[in-house]
């Protein structure tokens, strides 16, 4: 299947043999680093996932959305009880949070917002490629993107030959492709043609897989591919349903159900990446946070600042990294939303620089048009 000579050499007892010859540091730098993004569509409520426990205003404004049994992170912040794996990894310095952060977008539209969270741009629909795709291209990492979804997310567009995994109910004979491949002529057929190329190069386990109803199987296959030294270096998961205008609830509400999905994916990745988890970064991505105040339907409205949940061995330490803006009315964005004090693109740019072994300055220019994005690699990640 995927057992190339290279990953055979680094697996099993030969590892000992190798580490005897090379200093440990160079062995580590040989390891492939994985970047996994989980898109949380609909507007993830950072204050439900990572509530600020030191501020009574939150409870006052959200009487029907109170969380009990919050897992404590530190004296200021807690964690939603459904995010158990993050709590577990927190103890081992393998989970962290960036709080009061968002893409620089304040328009509160899902569609514009999701477009911008993926393109990383300032004007909706202007850019046709995603920041992750451009980051891969700039780093000359081609054909190493894997999306766990049926369509190809905009986030990964911009670099050719990405793969996705969401297998059909029955086995598909890919040799049919050989019979029609040459019929795809001309520029207007280029996109389909290059996608057929990608299909023809898929590893066997992906070719023979069936049935995508089982979320667990999808995450397992992703872990398997990411673990492979010659496999993908980037994976994108897509979750939706975070748009909880109504019945958002507390510990068991609609938002909790979605966070539980995030927790499941990270749990499976952690269990199955094995040692590769040490060379992995998992980051969430959303279009905006939600209003502080609950609305008429015991839900919340579209807001601004949110949080990034992070896991993986490439994190520097467990921490809530934030420049906390406060929840007093005058501290809120337009008097209603948690403010964003960190451009989340700075976090993603730094994460790419670590995982793709690139200078963050270079990526900032190549991917984000030289926008003012501080390098956070030192603070957040192991470099």
């Amino acid at each position: 299947m995927n057992c190339t000579r290279r990953n055979f050499l680094i697996g099993g007892s030969t590892t000992l043999f190798l580490s005897g010859y090379f200093p440990k540091i160079s062995f580590a730098s040989m390891q492939k680093k994985n970047l996994i993004i989980i898109s949380l569509r609909g507007g993830m409520d950072g204050l439900t996932a990572v509530p600020v426990i030191g501020d009574k205003r939150l409870k006052k404004l959200r009487k029907k959305l109170i969380l009990e049994d919050v897992l404590n992170l530190n004296s200021d912040f807690g964690l939603h009880p459904k995010l158990e794996i993050f709590h577990k990894l927190w103890q081992k310095n393998q989970a962290a949070i960036v709080h009061a952060t968002n893409i620089p977008y304040t328009g509160r539209s899902h569609f514009d917002g999701q477009n911008l969270m993926e393109t990383g741009a300032h004007i909706p629909y202007k850019e046709k490629t995603g920041w992750l795709g451009r980051g891969l291209l700039a780093s000359n990492i081609i054909g190493k993107g894997l999306a766990i979804s049926l369509p190809m997310p905009l986030l990964l567009r911009g670099v050719p030959q990405n793969n996705n995994f969401f297998p059909s109910p029955d086995f598909v004979e890919t040799k049919l492709i050989d019979q029609i491949y040459n019929e795809f002529k001309g520029e207007h057929n280029e996109l389909i043609k290059s996608t057929l190329d990608t299909i023809r190069q898929r590893p066997l386990s992906m070719q023979i897989a069936t049935d995508s109803d089982d979320r667990k199987k999808l995450a397992l296959e992703a872990a398997k591919q990411l673990k492979d030294q010659s496999g993908p270096r980037v994976a994108v998961f897509d979750l939706d349903g975070f748009d909880t205008h109504a019945a958002q609830g507390g510990v068991d509400g609609a938002h909790a159900d979605e966070l539980e999905e995030v927790n499941k994916i990270v749990t499976i990745l952690h269990e199955n990446l094995g040692q590769a988890f040490d060379n992995t970064l998992i980051l969430t991505l959303t279009e905006f946070g939600r209003t502080i105040k609950q609305n008429g339907g015991y839900g919340t409205e579209h807001g601004y600042g949110s949080a990034i949940l992070m896991a993986g061995g490439l994190l520097k330490k467990s921490q809530v990294y934030t420049d906390w803006p406060g929840l007093k009315k005058k501290e809120l964005f337009e008097g209603r939303d948690l403010n964003s004090t960190i451009d989340s693109r700075a976090v993603y740019n730094s994460a790419m620089s670590v995982c793709f072994n690139q200078d963050p300055e270079f990526l900032r220019k190549e991917v984000f048009w030289g926008d003012e994005l501080p390098d956070l690699s030192q603070e957040l990640f192991k470099i």
């Binding site: 509160r108 059909s168 029609i180």
Partner: protein, 478 residues
Amino acid sequence: MSLNFYRRVAFGLSPHEKPDKDPLNWAINQLDTIPDLLWPGTIPTEKDLRKKYGEWVYGDREVLRKKFKNDKHAYRKAKDELRIKTGERYFELNEHAIRHFQTKYSKQPVFERFWLFWGNHFAISEKDFLAEFSTGPYQREIIRPNMVKTFEEMVQSVTTSWCMIHHLDNSESFGPNSKKGMEWGETINENHARELLELHTVSPNAGYTQEDVIQLAYIMTGWAHKWDRKNLETGDIWFDQEMHQKGDKVVLGVKYKNDAKRELAKVIHDLATHPICIKFVSTKLCRHFITDEPTDEMINPVIDAWNKSNGSLIEIHKAVITQAYKYNEITHKFHPPEIWLMQLSRMFDLNIPLSFEKMNYTFKIKPNNRQRQLSWILREIGHSPYRAKQPNGWSDLEVDWVSPELLLRRFWFASVELPMLVKSGNRSHGFILSCLKNNFEEHENMASLIDNFRFGTSDYDLGQKYGVICNLPGVLKI
């Protein structure tokens, strides 16, 4: 004119149809009237299905959850029985059959393409039990009758429909200074107001502000379902003065005087006739029928027709078709999976949907696999029409529909599933060749690609043939 025009604006030609001498007139003449729904089986009304919706949510929420609060297992069993009794797992299947049957047999297939377009422009995305009970009848009773009226009338109907109001939470929106808003300390829910601006009418190109959204939400307060203990949220839509924000409102610089329920019609008039709205929707129509990136040259005649006819959808549709005809030979357009399936079904006379007798439902046992087949196929090829993920509906862009898995799903359908849908009289090689000839200029080249299997009529052979044909560039797109 190429035969592909019949696929650009319709679903191709069935084995019983022949190309028309004047394809443009053939298409344009289909737009003046609303064709009857042809499905010979049950076509329940929106109101009846809403009643079923009510029985389902009431039964679950108010009865079963309380009765079985300490017995998870018994609860699950009772809930499954309630699903069967209310048709919770059935009605969406029936709606897919009604829709597919229509696109397959309609004498006005061009009209049906516009029906699909508008249903997706005013999309109802996956939420609560809308796909199960409401989105289908909304397409039939709200979208369809308005297709011979004006765009403004369509927006009015959509905006005050139960389905859209539930979809975008307007029943939860209270004017903060209204009687109920003050008493209960409630406030607005902006969701519906925002989408009315952004998706349904003027689009963000109009440069509206957060304040515009809030002001429009104020105007919309009061348009809500009539709640009662028995029907819960499934009561009829009415205007509840006690929820309505008092005072004048200003949207996009226009002042709307305090005028209760009449405010909404006035603001919709201004939005639906706004030049930016006209350009936005005209562009979307051209994108759907002509090419992913339509030029001003393509769009402007549609805008002219819109202005001249004061937004008559019949005239707008005719202008779109005229443009689609004009640019047919020099533009390409990719077909999303459902349209591709409908075209294959019509061109090759496939055995979907299931016959209406077999679709009959007794409310005593759960729907069987055959009854679920069409809906299952739609889901697996990535395009379950009433389950768009977001209120902006399904994309019209090729890049959103091309990924390894989405293409593989088409190979899967054509080579594994489709052979089982070929009617017994249609298994010969000659039948395939005649369908190709009826629909494709390049039919000889297509035939040569499947010539190896010309003697085969087994499911496997048919799978090899259709697997190739259905995924050729000229079938995936025009």
